[in-house]
Symmetry: C2
């Protein structure tokens, strides 16, 4: 049995580069950017009028003139026009190019227009008033969005602005989520007394969907030859195999031996934590004889196997605690740790890291974690009442209200 820290280190040393793919920018939310987004021109690209009003030659105003005959209109989206007579003005619209030979905009609110003449009602006007100057925000060639940024609605706007209709993002790993156990029946079936429906695979599918990974699913019965034959295929076809169940001490927990027989290197089995202890992790490196999968941009170097214990809460927390950081490091998008303040005293004796289910509350700028009482790792329904797991270290027994620990959040 190894510590949670060692387990995480081993996992983070088994990350993998899945390469890069090009996709339509509008489909890229949540994906990890694999190119720099550069300004294709200055931003704003021209001296941009930022208020509806009139544009003048400021010198004339400074010389004492405050009535300006309207000479024309500069609309947004129209080619730049020129002020012909510097005693006149041009009506200008927000978003328009500032007309040639003008250098200040006075908003409609500050002028009175009568008979085609605008009378300015204010006494101070500064150079380039109400003008968003060309290149003020960014110069052509500036980096607008950096490599490895997780794309959100904000980045989508920038990517559209610079005309990148196709964008390079990290390719996602090919993942299969496999349930085992003869006690499991399908969601559409009516279980007999000793049976239950498959549910962990679907929780895992949803947790991976949050990372924009579309995982496939499969179920294998507790039959060693079948297990071996199917897993052998999956090892060739997928980057990641996620299992739920069959890793404990049970008579039919064939998974560890089958994986080892198939040449998967066990990197650990069992982590000093609760829940989720009997977690098995290993990798299979492709050797030359077995080099049967070459994709367009990347070569499948290895398959990574996360075999989680079958209890619903164990599977769930281990996906958050281990698969998530493994994926994030693989695509080079490291997430900042989130910490929360314990809202109640908690005691936990075993010398194990304790992933305690909590409900989170935003209270005056604090993130407070209130423990949720569940009935152990089989109590799936208790996940519904929680938002996260708070991670309590194994070096103490009493955890006091007000102490700060990191949290694994699955609900926003």
């Amino acid at each position: 049995m190894i510590s949670e820290k060692e387990a995480k280190n081993i996992i983070l040393n088994a990350t993998q580069d899945f390469g890069v793919e090009e996709i339509p920018f509008i489909k890229s939310v949540g994906r990890i950017l694999k190119e720099e987004i550069l300004a294709d021109r200055d931003f704003p690209p021209f001296n941009r009028v930022s208020m509806d009003g009139i544009a003048i030659d400021l010198e004339k105003f400074k010389e004492g003139q405050n009535s300006f005959k309207i000479e024309g209109i500069q609309a947004a989206g129209s080619k730049q026009i020129s002020l012909k007579n510097s005693n006149n003005c041009i009506e200008v619209m927000t978003g328009a190019v500032l007309p040639n030979h003008t250098n200040a905009v006075i908003r409609y609110e500050d002028v009175i227009i009568e008979n085609g003449v605008a009378k300015i009602q204010i006494h101070e006007i500064i150079d380039f008033q109400n003008i968003h100057k060309k290149g003020k925000d960014k110069k052509a060639g500036d980096v607008l969005v950096h490599l490895n940024k997780k794309i959100s609605a904000a980045e989508i706007g920038v990517i559209a602005t610079v005309g990148k209709s196709i964008v390079k993002v990290a390719k996602q790993p090919k993942v299969i989520i496999v349930s085992t156990g003869d006690e499991l029946v399908g969601v559409d079936e009516i279980p007999l007394e000793h049976q239950i429906r498959r549910s962990n695979v679907f929780s895992l599918v949803s947790l991976l969907e949050k990372l924009n990974i579309s995982a496939e699913t499969a179920h294998i019965t507790d039959d060693k030859p079948i297990l071996k034959q199917k897993i052998s295929t999956y090892l060739k076809d997928y980057d990641v195999l996620l299992f739920s169940g069959a890793v404990s001490k049970g008579k039919y927990d064939f998974l560890p031996e089958v994986l080892e027989e198939l040449g998967v290197e066990k990197l650990f089995h069992k982590v000093a934590q609760r829940p989720g202890k009997p977690f098995w992790f290993g990798t299979k490196t492709e050797n030359d004889n077995n080099f049967n999968k070459i994709e367009k941009n990347n070569i499948k170097e290895q398959a990574v196997i996360f075999a989680f214990p079958g209890n619903p809460i164990s599977t769930f927390v281990n996906c958050l605690a281990y698969f998530y950081p493994w994926y994030q490091k693989s695509v080079q998008c490291n997430q900042n740790e989130i910490t929360a303040i314990l809202g109640e005293d908690v005691s936990f004796k075993p010398n194990l890291v304790y992933f305690l289910q909590v409900k989170l509350a935003s209270e005056a700028g604090n993130l407070v974690a209130y423990p949720v009482k569940g009935n152990g790792s089989g109590d799936l329904a208790s996940l519904v009442n929680s938002d996260a797991f708070i991670q309590l270290p194994n070096n103490k027994i009493h955890f006091k209200k007000g102490e700060v620990y990191s949290v694994l959040r699955y609900r926003n």
Copy 2:
């Protein structure tokens, strides 16, 4: 001009019920549950073995017996078997039904098995040790997930467990996002000097995608008859029209008058806030003559029009500040307010609510908001460097480091 509070009240009084639809449960993440999820049977459904080991009749152990001959195996997923001789034991696997006539499980770690006999190595065993008792978590008929819960991976597991392969969720509003402005060209086009590419509609599409709403998009040129004709159609076909631009004082800002000519009731125009002030909001109620859209489950009662100012940051913040809560109240899933601690002093003089761009950091259980310097509401790239807007009230000018305000978060 009305206050941000009044604007929000008006909007929250214009919410709408879009009805309910049935979808495959695995597609329901992020949607709002519109039925109660009930336990279809007790959970666990049987006395469930929670450790691999042996099951015994505890009376025999209490009488002093500590060696038990193994009589059989109870695997997970097998029908319940019975202990025939109460001096014997049965090997049991995690997830299995507890065999008949047994009432305690001793884990493999606490027994030595030799020649088909298990010798117990511990001295205290309690009734139903290592057994997750039938109905301990939930009783048949108990509510597992309540109405109006936003479905996450946790709920997916529960929904699968009770066999609801089809689930009732709130129907989403039909939304069209419309850009206006002759200065705009497509993402794939090369803009002339006075033009820029469309970007706000795509930011809005992405912001709505976060709510699992698939919006359609359209662009209309600054031509009043065309604008009127197109909007007239949209009012019939969509529940929500989101506009970006054409609501200011400009000569070609036809939108407010066109909407009013089409019978849309203006509920307000301009909110005392920065950015995002020239926001126009209205509703069009279907009258009897115009009752041309009856859908399967619900009748379209009204169209709601959010016409945001065209500056990128204005559109973005108004979507978060107004459309999000409108949608959440419409589907009856109210989100808790998030607050953050200001990380720096800020001064803001105008008598307006100030939506200030901030970067958020989780620091020792605190959510700290650091102001991000942008160049005003046109500076789209500054959104890339921020995570949220902190909402500073209009009743003061100096905001001190350490003070707590609510935040509108667009990045997790």
